[in-house]
């Protein structure tokens, strides 16, 4: 064993060992930083999977509404265009819908902001000034524009949920850029 070690390192100078040290230190640094990046990427991937489930839940919700089935939570039921208005019904606000979805009894109660565990699971917009928005779901209202691409506006807390409302779900990534997950119609 000693002979082998001598064979490998025989004739090497101090500077050679320093070089090897720097080489190993660099690889360890790349590994350490890379591991951190990779963990964040896998968390982001998990958030995307959760987002896809939210989109498919809303699609299911929408189908049930169309077939006049009973749906929960009631806070997410949109206001009908004509029938409900004539009856004097009030539209639900987005805030109450979102809270009922992600609160204690909601279907997405288990979801958390995996990138920023202390911050809310959804946010109004992806904002570099608000560090906690990284990893949060961003719901945006799509305004159909027949002449071009649809307009996008953030879903404010007081936004009223009405029938045929188009919503886009995105996730705010580590660099505070939106990654589109999907769109659904209420």
């Amino acid at each position: 064993m000693k002979k082998n070690t001598q064979g490998i390192f025989g004739g090497m100078k101090f500077s050679d060992f320093v070089f090897l040290g720097v080489l190993i230190a660099n690889l360890m640094l790349v590994g350490y930083l890379g591991l951190d990046d990779y963990q964040r990427a896998t968390k982001l991937s998990q958030i995307q999977d959760n987002g896809e489930e939210i989109v498919s839940w809303f699609e299911d919700f929408s189908q049930k509404l169309e077939s006049k089935e009973e749906v929960t939570p009631a806070a997410c039921v949109p206001l009908g265009k004509e029938a409900d208005v004539t009856k004097g019904a009030k539209a639900n606000a987005w805030k109450s819908c979102a809270e009922s979805l992600f609160a204690g009894n909601g279907p997405f109660k288990a979801y958390t902001n995996l990138l920023m565990p202390k911050d809310p699971v959804y946010a109004q917009k992806c904002d570099k000034q608000n560090l906690g928005s990284s990893g949060a779901f961003i719901f945006e209202k799509l305004i159909i524009n027949p002449a071009g691409p649809p307009g996008v506006a953030p879903m404010g807390a007081g936004e009223l949920i009405v029938e045929d409302m188009n919503i886009r779900l995105s996730v705010c990534d580590t660099g505070y850029y939106l990654i589109k997950i999907g769109e659904f119609k209420l």
Binding site: G34, Y38, Y176, Y177
Partner: protein
């Protein structure tokens, strides 16, 4: 019956020898050994890529049958390779000294790896057991690469025996006389990673791909940075072996400031900066600089190096033409502003805006977003457009003519090298390799190279013939191959040699030479007989005088 057996056996031997020479004989030059090895290497690399992709559900699930088909084809190829190696083992110098060459091959490490890497599939086909675990053994196909690597490492160690550790690093990352095949493999490895990482950066920008493969791209980038940063450190540490950068600090700093080193640095820097400083700044834009890794390939391309030389050489001319262009652009912008500002204050708002219009017009791009409407402005645009064709073409013409000039110079340089190599009349194996490498660098086809070689040979032959006709021909050394095809030159050469012998006899002591040649241990009978003739001739001449 016996005759039949003998003819089958001899046919078998001939076939075995032929197959060995065709695909496995490393000593033959014009066989398919290199192509075969390269093909197997590419198949291994593709298999590894396939193995990785199989673990990405979005790619694998919808294309399972394609993966299976590729696996079957690969297995077929690797099986044929194994069977061929097994069959020709008695011809292989590594095994033919063994009592049973095929058994010696069978139990050799590489053959075992080859066998284990194909065995899981056959076991799965013939036995009903759940052998999914054995599929992991396909990873062993990676070790098949060592078949190419091991001899290269051995050769590298042999060639660099006794050299310092730093020199070995230098020889590994740079082309030196002792670099050998290992350096080629190192270069190939880096080139492959450059291509993989640049493709990854491009595909990352496609949302639908990045959405599903974000983590995989991340892993690729981390691996690429680990490889490129290691390469950078190796180059920086060993650069002092280059006479240009000998001083340990200033030499390294000068090396670090060279264009290729800067490219190497920019290829890895975005990763460190973005990861370490992403809390402070938005450094996402730096990711685009990862595409600069493509420039790393410039190191490996003779064409780009020729282009750099040309730009450096023609820099004063380029500067002059750039000056004329800038002058014309400024003049056009000022005139455009003067004629059009009043008519279109929103478009020709100021001179900087007019510069944009002038460049677009002079370069014959003509987007049309800004265009003159006044008669004077339009008249000027006609002149500008016509001038632009000529002025903007100047740098391109300079570059193209200088590049073809450079290629001509390099070919002439190569011809001179050929003349130099042919001075001794023969081209050795080393010289042949050098010629082929140079021809590859100059993008010469095989037929072009042969034509140049033939030209050099004819030229040298003419030189030889001319040399023999002159009085001082004795100073020329001719090769036997050349003399065998030129009897007149051979006769001349013989005469020169005889006169040389006569000269030696005339200036030497005849008694001492006679004593020496008298001893049968010192000379052959022919040499003694020749000496006697020369001695008699010398005595006759002395008597005559």
């Amino acid at each position: 019956m016996n005759l039949n057996t003998i003819s089958i056996a001899s046919l078998n031997l001939r076939l075995r020898k032929r197959l060995y020479d065709l695909f496995f004989n490393t000593h033959l030059k014009n066989n398919f050994h290199h192509q075969f090895e390269h093909f197997i290497t590419y198949m291994i690399v593709l298999n590894m890529a396939g193995l990785v992709l199989e673990h990405i559900p979005i790619i694998y699930e919808s294309r399972e049958h394609l993966f299976h088909l590729f696996d079957v084809i690969s297995l077929g190829i690797f099986t044929v390779e194994y069977v061929l190696r097994f069959y020709v083992a008695p011809e292989d110098s590594a095994f033919n000294s063994a009592k049973n060459p095929r058994f010696a091959f069978f139990k050799s490490p590489f053959a075992l790896i080859d066998l284990i890497s194909i065995l899981p599939f056959y076991l799965g086909a013939f036995f009903d057991a759940d052998l999914r675990v054995l599929r992991a053994l396909r990873l062993l196909r990676l070790f098949k690469l060592f078949r190419a690597l091991t001899p290269a490492v051995k050769d590298f160690r042999e060639q660099n025996r006794g050299k310092s550790f730093r020199y070995k690093i230098y020889a590994l990352v740079n082309e030196t006389p002792t670099s050998g095949q290992l350096h080629q493999i190192f270069d190939f490895f880096i080139v492959v990673w450059v291509i993989i990482s640049v493709l990854a950066v491009i595909l990352e920008s496609v949302h639908s791909i990045n959405y599903h493969l974000h983590s995989e791209f991340m892993i690729l980038d981390i691996l690429a940075v680990a490889i490129f940063s290691t390469e950078y450190l190796m180059r920086m540490y060993s650069c002092t072996e280059n006479p240009k950068y000998q001083a340990w600090l200033s030499g390294r700093l000068r090396n670090a400031a060279s264009p290729t080193s800067l490219i190497d640095l920019f290829a890895v820097l975005p990763f460190y900066l973005e990861t370490l400083l992403h809390h402070l700044f938005d450094l996402r834009f730096l990711r685009v600089f990862r595409l600069m890794r493509l420039l790393k390939l410039a190191r490996y391309s003779g064409a780009t190096q020729s282009l750099f030389i040309v730009i450096k050489r023609e820099w004063p001319v380029m500067k002059a033409s750039a000056f004329i262009m800038i002058l014309l652009v400024m003049l056009a912008a000022c005139l455009g502003y003067l004629f059009e500002h009043e008519a279109q204050p929103d478009k020709f708002e100021n001179i900087p805006q007019s510069i944009y219009w002038a460049v677009v017009t002079l370069a014959s791009v003509g987007y049309g977003d800004i265009s003159p409407i006044t008669p004077a402005g339009r008249a000027m645009t006609i002149v500008l457009a016509l001038l632009g064709i000529g002025i903007f073409a100047i740098p391109a013409a300079i570059l193209s003519s200088a590049l073809s000039d450079q290629l001509r110079i390099e070919r002439e340089k190569m011809m001179n090298e050929l003349y130099h190599m042919l001075e001794d009349g023969v081209i050795s194996a080393e010289e042949q390799e050098l010629i082929e490498a140079e021809a590859k660098r100059l993008h010469l086809s095989k037929s072009e190279l042969e034509r140049l070689l033939e030209k050099a040979k004819v030229q040298m032959g003419v030189d030889h013939a001319a040399a023999t006709s002159t009085a001082n021909v004795g100073s020329q050394e001719l090769d036997l191959k050349f003399l065998s095809t030129h009897p007149a030159v051979a006769a001349e050469q013989l005469k020169i040699t005889i006169s040389k012998l006569q000269q030696i006899m005339s200036v030497s002591s005849a008694d001492e030479l006679a004593n020496y040649f008298g001893d049968p241990n010192n000379a052959t009978p022919l040499q003694s007989a020749l000496f006697q003739i020369l001695l008699q001739n010398a005595e006759k001449q002395k008597g005559g005088s």
